[in-house]
């Protein structure tokens, strides 16, 4: 059996009941018709409707179980009168009907309660729960009537159907680490900052870091955008983390860490960056022994040696790192470079191994006469290593020895290139130029509005639609660059606009340094050739993106080495999932997902955020809070943190804008 029997999902009313198969209408949504493997779903019910895949569905029990799940998941709610009592009454009345003891009065009571919940509930979960229940009461009315009129239980009451539910929110769904964003925002709103932090740490151990330098894809899925502007989600995350440091409270874990298991099982992690730290943390919460091997003398990976101090103060990052490393079952070995041979040894010694070594090779700009060994040619990664090792850890020497009073040209357009140019300013460069192939709008989209504007304020010169054609040197060092200019020519056929080189648009830049920051690649030397690890087409390690096991049994990969150069939050999300899979794999040798993870993937595929939805019940036009920054003169010659974070008033005001868009969905299998 396949296909959709009935659906009200997002107002797409499909009713194939009683139709011959060639008349069946298909749905435009990626609904979870198949639950997992060869298990089919009987129905999917959620905030925006109900979809039935099995003609023999017990609609009464489905409705009553959905209300029951809402009751069970009330840790996400239960904080307003309509939600708290309304939800209970909804369930009690539906179950009464399903048992065969209901009356038609109960139906009218249900409708009354449903209306009050939908109008006055505090959060979306209370507002949306009644919707699919009312849909079922309307479109499967005969099943309800039968139960009431004949006083009989519903057709499969207490049968063998399982109901699997999950609470999500558009922002949570969009966040690669699936952080329970409404909960940590509510912690700020309630001024119980410890709860805010605990909520973040459920799925995100790097709260300091991702409260500062996350590109916040969540904000693109913030329903508040449909009303006015998205919530400043990222900056609110920092509040809880800063509270922990300010008040020196004991480490706050999302749940009591389990006692060390001491059962001989152990997991190796290669790399102490965001992915490695995250996996270590969640394995350690389970009491599992984890040994991390880190090549550098300092911990934290690219965030430590790549992201500059003015954006991500190391003492704050160290808090995140310390949270992980102080767990009783985590150990770390620094200055330990793992090569292919060593990886084989580790692989043999450990019950599972996770690669989290990132992508730390700077790619070339592909200009003629490009010679990475030429003086003045300085890869972004190694340049930032030098800057950060000195400014954060006093290791090595100051990059101002090289950059002071020099002309620096960076080719890029992403976060790394922004770090390069802004660090160059801080190291005293005379002139700093960023060459970028595309336009201003794109660079803002690829980084952030703040990042770009702060760079401009600090004196970085951006030249858009430009690319280096040729590099000139005097045999020892780079002297100048020949740069082509491009323009965006619209496609007359309505296709994507093309970048076309402008004839006679070329110009030259005399410079001392060329710093390519176009992208980074993996150092694949670590992978033993005989393992024939399968790679993606862009030469990162291939997994199925669900359990993060590589083509080599027991070898997992997460973060940039799996995805290619991407965000911290992406690495965290992958590594947490990998840790969950590993925590089971080391005992049963199987790669499995738990129901919550299966549902997470289903919802992600279905998409939770609907940018066309009309918001009701909230005042539009409440401005989004913007945190205070250091003035240009106060920041451009030093490494002081630029973003001072929200004041208390701004934080609470911003938190009050959050509409708590929790949704509950459920699959019947």
């Amino acid at each position: 059996m396949s296909g959709i029997v009935f659906s009200t999902w997002q107002d797409e009313l499909i009713d194939n009941r009683g139709k011959s198969s060639d008349e069946w209408v298909e749905t435009g949504f990626k609904l979870p018709e198949t639950y997992y493997g060869d298990t089919n779903s009987k129905a999917f019910i959620g905030w925006d409707g109900v979809a039935i895949f099995d003609e023999d569905i017990d609609a009464v029990e489905l409705a009553s179980q959905y209300a029951a799940q809402y009751q069970e998941y009330s840790e996400a709610c239960g904080r307003c009168a309509p939600g708290r009592w309304g939800g209970r009454i909804l369930y009690d009345l539906l179950d009464k009907i399903a048992r065969g003891e209901g009356s038609h009065d109960d139906i009218s009571h249900l409708k009354e309660i449903a209306k009050t919940m939908m109008t006055t509930s505090k959060c979306e979960i209370g507002k949306t729960v009644p919707k699919p229940i009312l849909d079922l009461m309307e479109h499967y009315k005969e099943q309800f009537d039968t139960c009431i009129d004949a006083q009989v239980p519903s057709k499969h009451y207490n049968g063998n159907t399982s109901y699997i539910a999950k609470v999500t929110a558009p922002c949570t769904d969009m966040c690669p680490a699936h952080v329970d964003i409404p909960a940590y925002i509510e912690g700020v709103r309630d001024m119980v900052f410890t709860e805010s932090l605990a909520a973040t740490r459920q799925t995100m151990p790097l709260a300091h870091t991702c409260g500062r330098v996350c590109p916040h894809p969540c904000e693109d899925a913030c329903r508040r955008t449909n009303l006015d502007e998205p919530i400043s989600i990222m900056e609110l995350k920092r509040i809880g983390a800063d509270y922990e440091t300010d008040h020196e409270i004991p480490w706050l874990h999302p749940r009591e860490p389990k006692e060390p298991r001491n059962d001989g099982k152990k997991v190796a992690i290669i790399g102490a960056g965001p992915a490695g730290l995250t996996a270590a943390y969640y394995l350690a919460l389970e009491g599992i022994q984890v040994d991390i091997f880190e090549e550098l003398p300092v911990n934290g990976g690219e965030v430590a040696v790549g992201v500059p101090e003015y954006r991500m103060p190391v003492d704050k990052y160290n808090k995140d790192i310390e949270l992980v490393l102080q767990m009783p079952t985590v150990s770390i070995t620094n200055n330990h470079r793992v090569d292919a041979n060593r990886l084989k040894e580790i692989y043999d010694e450990y019950d599972a191994t996770m690669l989290g070594f990132g992508a730390r090779l700077s790619k070339k700009v592909r200009a003629s006469n490009e010679n990475p060994k030429m003086g003045g040619y300085w890869g972004a990664i190694s340049m930032l290593d030098k800057v950060n090792l000195w400014s954060k850890y006093n290791i090595g020497s100051s990059a101002s020895n090289e950059l002071k009073d020099k002309v620096v040209v960076c080719v890029g357009g992403g976060f790394t290139s922004m770090d390069v140019v802004r660090c160059s300013i801080r190291e005293g460069a005379k002139k700093v130029i960023m060459l970028y192939r595309r336009d201003e709008k794109t660079i803002i989209r690829n980084t952030t509005y703040e990042e770009y504007h702060e760079a401009v304020e600090e004196g970085v010169e951006f030249i858009f639609h430009s690319a280096i054609e040729e590099i000139f040197d005097d045999g020892e060092k780079i002297t100048k660059l020949k740069v082509n200019r491009f323009e965006l020519v619209p496609d007359p056929n309505g296709g994507r606009a093309q970048l076309v080189k402008i004839e006679d648009g070329d110009f030259e830049i005399e410079c001392d340094y060329l710093i390519p920051a176009v992208s980074q690649a993996l150092d694949t030397q670590i992978l033993p050739e005989e393992w024939n690890i399968e790679m993606t087409s862009w030469n990162s390690i291939l997994t199925n993106g669900k359990d993060y096991m590589t083509s080599k049994e027991g070898l997992f990969a997460a973060g940039d080495c799996e995805y290619g150069p991407m965000t911290i939050v992406n690495a965290v999300g992958q590594a947490r999932r990998a840790a969950s899979v590993i925590s089971r794999y080391i005992y049963d040798g199987k790669c499995t997902l738990i129901d919550d993870e299966i549902m997470e993937d289903h919802l992600n595929r279905l998409k939770v955020y609907d940018k066309n939805e009309k918001i009701t019940g909230w005042m539009p036009g409440i401005p989004r809070a913007v945190s205070q920054k250091l003035e240009t003169d106060e920041r451009k010659t030093n490494n002081k943190e630029v973003n001072l974070g929200f004041s208390g008033e701004e934080a609470i005001s911003e938190a009050e804008r959050c509409m708590r868009c929790y949704y509950i969905s459920m699959v019947a299998v």
Binding site: Y70, Q71, S74, E75, A76, C77, G78, R79, C80, A81, P82, G83, R84, W85, G86, G87, R88, I89, D92, H109, I113, K115, T116, T119, T120, S121, K122, R189, D190, M191, V192, I239, D246, H247, E248, I249, K614, I615, T616, G617, W618, M619, P620, I622, P623, R624, A625, V626, S627, Q628, L644, F646, S647, G648, E649, E650, A651, I652, S653, E656
Partner: protein, 755 residues
Amino acid sequence: MCTHNSINSGKEITLTIDGKVCKSTFGKTILEIARENDIYIPTMCYLTKVKSIASCRMCIVNVDGVDGAILSCQERATDGAVVTTNSEDLYAERQSIMKLYNVNHPLECGVCDKSGECELQNKTMEFGLAEQPFTARDQSRPVENWGYVSYDPALCIMCEKCVRVSTEITGDEALQLQFGGYSSKIVNTQIDKNYSTLGEAASVCPVGALVDTNFKYTTNAWELSKIPSACHHCSAGCQMNYEVKNDTIYRITNNFEFTSLCGAGRYGFDYANKGVTKDSEAFNRAVEAMKSAKSIIFSSQISNEEAYILQKIKELTGAKLISNEARAYQKFMQAYSSVTGKHLYNGNLKAISNSTAIIVLGSRVNDDAPMVKYHINMASKWNRARVAYMHPIEDVEMKNLVTQFMKYEAGSEEGVSALLVDTLLKDIDVPKDVRAFLDDLDIGNLSAGSNIGEEEFELLKKSMIKKRDFSLVIGADLYTHPRATQIAKIIALVEKYTNFNVVCIPPSSNAMGVSLICDLDDEADEYSVGYNAKANFTLSALGDGDLDMPALNQQEGTMVTIDKRLVPMNVAQPYGGYILNDIANAMGIGARYTIDYTKSLPLEKGFRGVEFDALDDYFTATGDEKRGYLLELHETPTEDNFEEIEELDGFDGAVIYNCNPKDQFSPFTNLCSTIKDESKLVGSSQFAIVTKLQDGDSVSFTVNGIEFKRLFRIEPSMKGTIAINPIYDMGLSTPLVSYYRFNKVQIIKEEKKED
């Protein structure tokens, strides 16, 4: 100065509510603006003094052009909005919510303490509900006794007001929500601590869920008459009502929408001097004693009018007026004024709660001044304020508020003040002589002497970058310091040259009033008369003197609060004996009633010459305080002369700090059986090692000539070699212990009796 304001608060807006044009500022909620304009919107969970809770959903309104029901308590009003607060639909939704609030709510109003003043009862009637149309399967939810308060989850409507008070106001952070949908309840996470501050949480409970344990089942609420007054246990002078039936105080309530009380204010009401009759022989002796007295020794826990009478007696007989605490404060504030040019400090409690950075110096503020702590907590919660707590002893009860604990050596307060002021004035233009004084400071030496590292001051400075609204809270440790006047002048530089709000906490309830009214002396001569203080002839409201006096809840009068506000106090308990005014009258200082003097309080000290009966005592609907009046600020002559910082002898070895535990302030709170008695010496295990004591030892020692016998207890949360010794329980001797709060003492271990 920082003008960063990304959320447009303060911008002027105009909106229309129910047809009425309302002008206000952006940042206020629709509900706030409605209340400013006398427009009623029903609420169940709204509590003015905390941020909006938004749990009840009763306050929904409609806004033109906006779909759906808008939550007026949370949503800020925007310019041009057209709001409708009532309609058939809105009424129906509110009625539905009331139906839900009544789901399974026990029908035990007949024996419920809240009956007659219950919001659920009121709103159930307001929305015309005659029955409970919905029910759900009931649950067994036993009543929990938490000590001062009891919690009945079956009655709880989960409005969350109590949790907000615990978090935002009192800062005990004991109460939390336990989510569980229908089984949600409030949990007390600090049940073993039996925080008296939970009384504040109980006071805001709209139903009978959270009630005072002692008050429970004692009377019907409507049988009590409310007598408005001010709490005089400390200088906060909080608004309160004695609730009385048949001359018995049953409980204390307050205007909880806008104000709060501490445990002492809430539960410390049973201290009246009862059963006193007129003993004319004793009275005559008292008059004679007063006539011949060379000194009058008194505690500053008296009314302004009584202080005025004592001043009049001094003017008549030439007797010295001795009130050590008030005298120390008077001298401190005089020295302070000689720099600022104003006779009072510039700060107040509200300014503290509005601050984004607060420095506390010289006070164990959680114990000394609970209202100051509450306001620091508000700043911490609302503004994420940086709180630097400078004191020789760390206080675990302040840990959730404090962002920087700066521990200094006892005795080094002068050096600490200088270092602090040097830090705060670093980048500020000051006159040459001040700069010269600061430049001459031997920072290294002072830093070593006080044991606060220079980097700690740098961190303090750094944490204040780009902040606005600063407060400096000064405590009683400084007033009695041997170098108090020099310290006062140094601290005064902060008020004079920065934009800090400075509050110098008056060291006892009416120390400010007494210090303004009385011409106080330093040393007593024999023969002395005491008023609530031990002397050759003692007048006492504690009931153990040579002539009885009324306690402050047995007489009318006024006091001056930490906010520099004169507030009235009223009679809650009858008194049948003689009062101070009778003695004054017998000496020829004539006034029919004590409060006839209220209008005579000295104008040159900022009093306004208002009659007692003309004093207001209320809050407006939007929370403006109309209690008594604020003292006028007067200019004083200034002189700048700073002495070199003097080093005091070190306080190494075992040191005792005079400090009353929370909720205990004086012999009067000590009389109250309803407050915990904690008259023991508490110290760290390190203190125990230094003094060779063990937990549970009986010890004796002498402080300022007064012998203490105490049980010693080790407090695991304490560190260092300073122990805390309460003085509130020393009766008429308590006012005599008023020297510098740190003392090196010899501790004698009492022989243990064989069991």
